[in-house]
Symmetry: C2
């Protein structure tokens, strides 16, 4: 394997473990075993576990951006349909995972915000970009007159994303899609309805 591939394997396997168990509960030895690389190889690519964790956040951000663009980036659909597709798309992903793991960025916001400033900065930036993508969609909806004129797209998008993350957290406990369905229904029937 070339350099890029080994680094990518370590990140992919580490990302999978951290998504499931959290950053602190994932040991370096777990990552090495899953990626089938020796410790020296890990330290060739990453200064330390924090450096690795920050690369994993980039990996999550790319995966979320790619997944989000399928729905939010489909400009053949009306903006509110794009938002509904966004929620349905992630609900389908979570269903495939038996409602485990949840949002990797939400998990790290919860786990790491008070423990590591570099993590807090980075997950905060990724989360802000997620909110911006939803705000853009709401702006388009407002321009078409599909949502109330008195809703601020930026603030409303932030609220919807926070609700969605809270719903994902609850989903992890109840192990079904009811919290996600409830979030979608309340947002569309009570926040975005005219």
């Amino acid at each position: 394997m070339g350099k890029e591939t080994t680094r990518a394997t370590i990140i992919r396997e580490g990302a999978r473990l951290i998504h499931k168990k959290g950053f602190n509960a994932t040991g370096l030895s777990d990552i090495l075993t899953a990626a089938r690389v020796p410790k020296g190889s890990f330290y060739f690519y990453f200064k330390n576990k924090q450096d690795f964790g920050l690369a994993v956040i980039d990996h999550y951000a790319e995966a979320i951006a790619a997944m989000s663009s399928i729905s939010l980036g489909d400009n053949n659909r009306p903006p509110l349909q794009k938002l509904a597709d966004f929620m349905d798309g992630f609900t389908a992903v979570f269903a495939k995972m038996d409602f485990t793991c949840g949002c990797p960025i939400g998990n790290l916001m919860q786990e790491m915000s008070d423990l590591n400033e570099a993590f807090r900065d980075k997950v905060g930036s990724v989360y802000a970009r997620m909110a911006e993508a939803i705000a853009q969609c709401l702006s388009e909806a407002q321009d078409r007159g599909d949502i109330p004129v008195d809703l601020d797209p930026t603030q409303t998008a932030q609220f919807i994303l926070n609700c969605w993350e809270g719903a994902i957290m609850h989903m992890k406990v109840v192990k079904n899609d009811a919290p996600l369905a409830l979030c979608k229904r309340m947002v569309f029937d009570h926040i975005l309805n005219k």
Copy 2:
């Protein structure tokens, strides 16, 4: 110190550490040091770290119930004012803690749901009781005609609690009360308004 006091000290100190760092990142030695007890004493009161963790969840549940009852239990106030007081009360607590730590139950739901069934069961029950307390408040509001008749109190309470937890998660990243204030405003202006 008597038996009850030593056990209570271990739980209180452990609860404080777990609130800040999470369950997995809190080592037994950290707990022993903070509680100033020897390892043998810990194992006199708790079978293992899981057994201890479950007792810590009970401790959190009691603290949340006590804090919630100050607002939601004050029947001299109209029901919607009780809910506003509930949000303001917790916002003040979080402000005192410089917006660190967040909701101990939300944290454990996020961290432990996929790692330990006993934890998932227990935090799920505590969370359900939190939602019931809000649902009771919304039922009272509906009986007085203060919220729309078409809102289901149980579902709406669950949505509000999930939004609130998502807002707390975001608060941990931005380190201010803006997500909590946004949640309160959106809930009162767009969900509960008539």
